[in-house]
């Protein structure tokens, strides 16, 4: 079961709001780039030729003896795509849950939240040479389709987030919320850059960086043969001898990822697989709720 009743109950009072302006086909609670089609008053604007006369504020004319036009904000529904990295490295886990397990639960929970608030949720399972997509829909029955797709996801093959980002850029014609669940262990140097490039296409991008405590702390002691989970590489090392260097390298990787997200104005959430899933979601939802 991807949906955990306890987790759902904890986030029940929250709503996922788009942090950026998104486009939808339905009216909803998120800002739309189109104005004038809503009943939500936004501001006054001095009349200029060409403005709709029906929006003239006569009361303001009476007070200031000038013509002002009322402007309204349009609210629309949200389209969100849960991009789940299904490369081999996502299958790693030392706490009983693999990173993919955590990603699936988080994606499913967010999808449930979106559908419940009348927004459209879809999912894309990506890895090198694979791109399985369930397009965003807001129908309640669509949630089962999303969950079904997540259920079938398995971790295998190399990571290729760059190609996935390119494909998404093509397939998402309108402004959408893109939630990426990945460890971002991608050999391609520009993979993260291309994921974040979605932001430049006016998409709202949120990165969930999923990491196992063993990757963060490198707690190995005895000489160990480390085997790659995405290809045939392997290396024998004495962990105690390289721990310091590893932690230094990994720390730099985390800092770079976080800095890149901040620079691209994207949300970044580091998720440890040994922490309760709802905590990471609550942090994310609260932050977004606080900004809106």
């Amino acid at each position: 079961m991807l949906l955990d009743a306890a987790t759902l109950s904890r986030i029940a009072g929250l709503k996922l709001r788009a942090r950026a302006v998104v486009e939808g086909v339905l009216s909803g609670q998120h800002k739309s780039p189109h104005q004038g089609q809503s009943v939500e008053f936004a501001e006054h604007k001095e009349y200029a030729p060409g403005d709709e006369l029906r929006h003239l504020d006569w009361k303001a004319f009476g007070k200031f003896d000038k013509y002002y036009v009322k402007r309204f904000e349009h609210e629309t529904n949200l389209r969100a795509v849960m991009v789940v990295d299904t490369s081999g490295s996502m299958g790693f886990g030392t706490t009983g849950l693999s990173k993919l397990d955590v990603a699936r639960v988080m994606a499913a929970t967010l999808s449930h939240l979106l559908v419940r608030q009348q927004d459209a949720a879809g999912v894309a399972l990506v890895a090198a040479g694979r791109f399985a997509e369930v397009p965003p829909r807001s129908a309640a029955t669509h949630l089962q389709v999303v969950l079904g797709a997540l259920e079938t996801a398995t971790a295998q093959g190399p990571t290729d987030l760059a190609s996935a980002a390119d494909t998404l850029a093509e397939k998402l014609p309108r402004r959408s919320l893109v939630c990426v669940f990945s460890d971002f262990f991608d050999e391609k140097q520009d993979a993260l850059k291309r994921v974040l490039a979605l932001r430049s296409r006016k998409h709202d991008v949120a990165l969930f960086h999923l990491l196992d405590p063993a990757e963060l702390l490198f707690p190995f002691e005895d000489p160990t043969l480390f085997v790659s989970m995405e290809d045939a590489r392997q290396v024998e090392v004495n962990p105690r001898e390289i721990r310091e260097s590893y932690l230094e390298e990994f720390g730099r990787f985390l800092a770079n990822t976080k800095d890149a997200c901040r620079a691209a104005d994207c949300d970044y959430e580091l998720v440890r697989t040994d922490e309760p899933i709802d905590q990471a979601l609550l942090r994310f939802l609260a932050r977004r709720g606080g900004r809106l």
Binding site: G88, S89, M90, G91, F92, K99, D183, F185, E187, D212, A214, E215, F220, D222, P223, T224, L225, F226, V227, S228, M229, R233, Q234, V235, E236, V237, N238, E241, I242, S245, Y246, E248, E249, F250, F253
Partner: protein, 696 residues
Amino acid sequence: MTFGQPWFLAGTLAALIPLLVHLFDRRRPRQVPFAALDFVLRSQKRTASRLRLKRLLLYLLRTLLLLAVPLALSRPSFSTSDLASSRRGLAATAVVLDTSLSLRWSDGTRLFDVAKDEAKTALRELSQEEPATVVVCTRAPVAAAPLGFERTRLLAALDDAAPGFEAIDLNQCLELAARSLDDSPLPNRRLVLVSALAQGSLRLEAPPPLGAGQKGEKLKPEVVVRDVARGKKELPNRALIDVRAEAAPQLGPRAWQFTFTVRNFAATAARDVELRLEVDGEVVQKGFVDVSADGTTQKTLSWRFAKGGVATVTGRLETDALTDDDALSVVLSVPRELTALVVNGSPSPQKYKDEAFFTEAALSATGSPVRAVLRDADAAWHEKLSDYDVVLLLNVEAPPPEMARALETFVLEGGGLFISVGDRVDPEAWNASMGRVLPRKLRVVKTAVEPNAPDAATRAARLTQAALNHPVMLPFTGRAREGLLSTRFYRYALFEGDAQGVETEVLGTMDDGAPVFLASRRGKGRLFVFASTVDRDWSDLPIRTSFLPLMQRVAGWLTGTLDEREEVRAKVGSTVSLTPENGQSPAWARAASGAEVALTTQPGGAVTGGPMPEPGPWVVVDAKGAVLERLGFAVAIDPGASNLSRHSLDALGEWLGEESVRTAGSGGGESSTPLWTWLITIAVLAFFFEGMLLRK
């Protein structure tokens, strides 16, 4: 290079362990699928060169550690290997091995073990063309074998050598060694002195050793000094050099106090040094002493013995580098309990007028070894005298003839008899009855002044002389003597001269020359006569502080307990002389270590044996092996031998002549630091750095 414990060299094979582990360690590492492999690879690449260097250093340090430890345990030392080809060419060589007490000094390794190794090394370094001999320098040194080329007997003699407990005469040994080379056809002579160079064993004021050539000319041998103390400035040592054992009646019956003298032969003061008192091997008291640098101090410990008899008391200092002089024993005889028959010649219902009141009180005081039994004269004559050690006749009328005979027999067979006079003593009757017993016959009673006269205090007779060297009088020194001499005598008996064949000691005389205290021996027994009363009728002695110790000492002397056993103490190397009792036939003296010395009976009946080879308590046994307890004695190390002050090599060079003395082996100037200490230092450093590398 030589090795003191060469079998430890096998341990150096352990140095191969790191290499073997590296070559044959085929442990399969645990296989772990890991997502962040890129980071592992990057880290490994970054640290590879540093890790290679670290592993190499670890390998080297571990190998060094495993090599240094067994090498250090094998006690390597550099020694000059050119003895054989000394600067004068081939030489006849005599190795002189010091066995004095100084060689027992140990700072982990006993100097004598070092000395034996040095002597063997000196022999091994000789070439086959050089004749050699060995002189093991003991009290009576002899060459181990005639000068020759065969080394086996010489090495065996070195193996058999053992260190002694006294200073020895190294000058004599060097002289003997130099003479043993006289027969050599080689023109060069060499003496190898293996010694700790203690000043007590080598006198530099004596002439240096000289040999004689084949034509009788004097030859000065080359002297090679192997200093086993490795150039140390001093061999610090503490020693117990004396013990004085004294009865301490103030502490109770059979209480003794032992005053130990501790000497510090070191340039630094010793603080809180523990001194233990052992009685028959059991620690009964402890104390602590501070001894200044090169100083002496005394410490008194006391002990109350549960019973009389012979006891071995040992003082034992906290051990130092020379343990043998840290203990000093004394074998003493603790007085047994005495039974005294006090015959009261003038009983009175009023205690202070009773003749025996003061005497009984004195004998029964705390700490007194005497158990007094009080009888009046009539009852006393029915007592069996052999049940008593001493009989005190206090102002008793002349005993009946049969009793006089019994008293005479009692004294002749070893009993003690005390007689004090008084108004019941009729001189004529006493002379008639006890004339054979009394040391001097009674003459008359002299009255110096009537006791009740108003000026009695000033006109009373007083003692003018006291034989303070007599065992009875020994406590009366200083103020105690003044107290005794100020005793007032109102009346006292006068005596005739000594009876024929009887020697009487006068222990105190009046200002008119009349004797007051008379001591005499008859047969095996003793007599003591007091010329006045032991109550206050004729004298005020009973109420003086002198009275109590005087009466107790008299009782002790009469029964022989004051000088019951002559304490025998001998020094190591000296002869011991014992006085056996009748019927005893001592044959051997035996030490706790099992060492035995035969005893020889001398014409006067005394038994002698020696020289005594080792310190400590010794027991004496007869031919049947029965222990003669009362003849036990203690042997001590001569305090002079405990002084381990050393000659400097410069002083030795001056004595022997600069051109003939050389130093070699562990005592050779700059090479005085042993190699093993460096190896241990290297091992410790290797261990430390290995740990540092592992932690990094």
